[in-house]
Symmetry: D2
Subunit: 349 residues, 4 copies
Amino acid sequence: MVVVMAPGATDEQVAHVVEKVESVGGEAFVSKGVVRTIIGLVGDIDSFHHLNLRTLPGVADVHRISDPYKLVSRQHHPERSTVWVGRPGREVPIGPDTFTFIAGPCAVETADQTLEAARMAASAGATLLRGGAYKPRTSPYAFQGLGVTGLKILADVGELTGLPVVTEVVDARDVDVVVEHADMLQVGTRNMANFGLLQAVGRAGKPVLLKRGMTATVEEWLMAAEYIAQRGNLDVVLCERGIRTFEPATRNTLDLSAVPVVQSTSHLPIIVDPSHAAGRMDLVVPLSRASIGAGADGVIVDVHPDPETALCDGPQALHGTALRELAQAVRRMPPLLGRAPAADRSRSG
Amino acid sequence: MVVVMAPGATDEQVAHVVEKVESVGGEAFVSKGVVRTIIGLVGDIDSFHHLNLRTLPGVADVHRISDPYKLVSRQHHPERSTVWVGRPGREVPIGPDTFTFIAGPCAVETADQTLEAARMAASAGATLLRGGAYKPRTSPYAFQGLGVTGLKILADVGELTGLPVVTEVVDARDVDVVVEHADMLQVGTRNMANFGLLQAVGRAGKPVLLKRGMTATVEEWLMAAEYIAQRGNLDVVLCERGIRTFEPATRNTLDLSAVPVVQSTSHLPIIVDPSHAAGRMDLVVPLSRASIGAGADGVIVDVHPDPETALCDGPQALHGTALRELAQAVRRMPPLLGRAPAADRSRSG
Amino acid sequence: MVVVMAPGATDEQVAHVVEKVESVGGEAFVSKGVVRTIIGLVGDIDSFHHLNLRTLPGVADVHRISDPYKLVSRQHHPERSTVWVGRPGREVPIGPDTFTFIAGPCAVETADQTLEAARMAASAGATLLRGGAYKPRTSPYAFQGLGVTGLKILADVGELTGLPVVTEVVDARDVDVVVEHADMLQVGTRNMANFGLLQAVGRAGKPVLLKRGMTATVEEWLMAAEYIAQRGNLDVVLCERGIRTFEPATRNTLDLSAVPVVQSTSHLPIIVDPSHAAGRMDLVVPLSRASIGAGADGVIVDVHPDPETALCDGPQALHGTALRELAQAVRRMPPLLGRAPAADRSRSG
Amino acid sequence: MVVVMAPGATDEQVAHVVEKVESVGGEAFVSKGVVRTIIGLVGDIDSFHHLNLRTLPGVADVHRISDPYKLVSRQHHPERSTVWVGRPGREVPIGPDTFTFIAGPCAVETADQTLEAARMAASAGATLLRGGAYKPRTSPYAFQGLGVTGLKILADVGELTGLPVVTEVVDARDVDVVVEHADMLQVGTRNMANFGLLQAVGRAGKPVLLKRGMTATVEEWLMAAEYIAQRGNLDVVLCERGIRTFEPATRNTLDLSAVPVVQSTSHLPIIVDPSHAAGRMDLVVPLSRASIGAGADGVIVDVHPDPETALCDGPQALHGTALRELAQAVRRMPPLLGRAPAADRSRSG
């Protein structure tokens, strides 16, 4: 930490800061400039936080220097991690050596629709099935998902197709029932800062897919992952899904810079959701290709056998030609960047 | 709703849209332009949503025309509402005829600190006490609040000072215990889209203070209020607290335009939190005065007897001269705009 | 300046930074932390900039500590400035002791419309006339202003009504002709970073009204003012006019926090334009009142005798009841905050 | 255009709108809903704009339906365009069939540095040389470029290496001298809405590289291109360079969705500048690969023989290993997406 004093700060005010820092066992290095004095702090950051240094007389600003997250940081864990999803013998990797393709319907509507979507996904090369049983919707009048019925459909379809299942949990009270049916728990963009839910999935004993809050900075997102990790669960996969900006042409602005930014500071895998970022089917294939180029560890997309009748986000669901184009991209592009498509690699193999 | 066809859309494609609309009992009015055809829809909007019109061939865009919220809209409830907080005989109003001043510590730390802060608040003219027992913090390593112990302190201090108490609830599982101790439940900015929590406070039978999500549009915020109202609770007060922008000089950008915007479309009262928006004590007084000017129904601010030792948000807590300036503003400015300060008005009086 | 080294930086890398700093005559104070080393720099900042310290091996980050602007800063000029506009004997002040009301048509269309608008403005208490002869428009197909003809109309109407005139200049090549006809030159939001234009108005010898770029930070805005000041013109008035955010309910989000933020770091006066920020007439009066509350030194608003026929921004122009409400607010509210309405004060009086 | 009436609008108010529309030769189709009436307009949009429909009594909102740009739209020009840069016999294409790699120093400092950077660029596969002689800088105290001296260096180096030259012009008064020395004129992000400059480069008779304003929507950007096109110059290449968001990890947020969004509505080529968006060298290669994946028609990057001594944006300049990685990506990835690297294709060949 660095404390910046105001231009006219007195020697007493500087001494007061130094004294406070030393009172909690820290060291303070004073650099007197022509205009300002700056004080470098060395010691335990958490104890410095409690000093409220910014409220002391003569203090103009306090700069934090170190990253505030620990367990998810690459600092003490320089190797990038691989997270394995699915039951023993069928596990699918998400990490630096592979490119993982996850697909499925935005919402589970019926057993038939889910099975058909899962088969579309699998034949396009997907190795994990996504599908929503609990849907957080902006309007209380919109379809909110099938709940437990939806979970059962997902589990059955996962069994039939051999695809591990990832599904969203929106309430800490539902974590137990979701864990029973799914292989990976998704925390959605609206719940990224729902700390009770983060702690609950942290104790759930299954891998977590943590979407970025649509208005969260990368640092806040990694702090949310830290909440999960702190409960003993380091099997967290991050998912970039667009941030809110002033641009109205897309629902959100996909921030692909976040992929290399995250990879440079955290060891956790990171995938991309181009469907929800764009909200437009015609952008899903180019943005998936861009995600591969950016170095993402995978993509997750919406597919639906009949988008016209979808109960949720039909306009962005892939099918037909576009899905075939995506299948081709996830097969051909990752090897250029030194990755195996996930379809070619599993722990059992 | 208005459906805009793509420039080259065929007559068959237009007819397909009309047919879909009529299949759910709606009417479709076709206007053929030189370049484009547009189709105006009349009928039940919810049924139109299920048609996924945006996925139909030849459709370029679909514009929603009506507001999506109902219970909180002024359309069927043109009079602006007053929400009364506190037990019978001591109720304090928040609404169009008064200006309500709410103050207290960001976090409850000890009984003494809370009582002293409450006395500071009351002597400055506050008629409601705020204080946090559950604190949603970005870092899992930061002080998370005293929980039930904090609730008890708040209830005791409310009793001693005669001030009704508003406090935040961060988890649906805590709603019952919070209702037991507090007069008004606050839903914080990070939980504005936590729909399970919104429904839980909607059933709690006490007034709710709903902060704006720091990246929520006004429309999404009113939809969150609609979630609460839909469970039978119309005693909702909205609280503008700043939105996330590119400007780093303040923690968030206080959006005071939201005050008249909300008042023109919703009957719910709206107050402003300048402390959390700015994150800097020196801005709290000017932004409180600005809130009064914008027509807000009240303000809520942090006060602390000793900001240097505060466990939470010390740098923004008012005391001393600044608090006296604020007390003067909330006494002298509202009457100029046709409002009584809340201190002069209660249901019992 | 503070240089933050990466966690694993070597002693050689630290020494290399120190050496570079000393090579340009600076001093470097090294603080070795448990995890990181930070280096405080003392000396001439401009010379440090040329070192590209961020590119040196082992350097993680470089924090700037001091404000980058000088002439417009309060640091060496602690008294807030007053800018006087208009020819000798009729000058109108904009500064900390008064509240200045500026009004007029968005665009000059005809002599009659401009004269009528100016009379509306004057009778509502305005002491400066605004009006656009050159209009920067997003579309090349929109009305671009009357140019020199418009300048002449403005000058004539200013003469007839006794109101000094402020008008926008959009091209450095037009500065001479605008100076000939106007009392104050406006640089619009789209040109805030047009450095050639800033330098041209800096040499023009008349006061400048510098609008904030709709996506500029406060610091960038003050740097733009510094460009003008550097050419010898310190008669700069800043104008907050809304920034671009994700909120669609208003054209831009008026950032009233910028008023006290600017006043705490710069001595220049700052006024507010609520008409262009909101783009909606119904918000102009509440946002003008909010501006007074925030401590602004004035407001500038659009008025038009017949908004239905306006060639530019008709939907936001005030007239009738709303204008009377605004007149009342600018007369009654500023005295509460220790300011005289500009109408009551001029240098000659 | 669609006019949406307020819920309580009267029949007279509806009739007034219809009458206004018909008065300028338009047709109005009225759809009466249960709650609201909507009116579809058919006819000349420009004439409708002058009606100020939004100011009429009873009107709640006006939705524009058609795109406001014409010459740059794909509507009447469905084939995507190729722009050729350089003098006859040496022209380099930018368009849908190739991938163009543009590189060079951010600022021209000396003849040696420019020549060395150009050779680095060429040997990495670049076919166009970029370099700044006029630098728009936020601070008046920063290096502003060598001006005409820089232009001459660029022209000489272009001659020596055979690379056509693209350079920025920041002031309409400099267009003539820049045209004399360069093969393509760049309009920078700060000048995207400098309409006088857009018109000047529109008349200059050479291709233009139009960077996106860092806070411009795609629509505003295409309107800026329309300004150039309207002066008779359709040789415009768009360049995405990041937009301003709340995320501090990168200087700006690269909006790669803009690539397919632009390509779906405009026939103009679009390239990407990852160096200025990120401001960090380590992100340039992954973001360049992502740009190829997104379908961009090229990239433009900063290279510098010695970033430590660069006078401008050293921290983002490529060299060494990173430049070799980029060279490999621009050679190997575009063919996967059906494009020839520009190095393999010229008009003469």
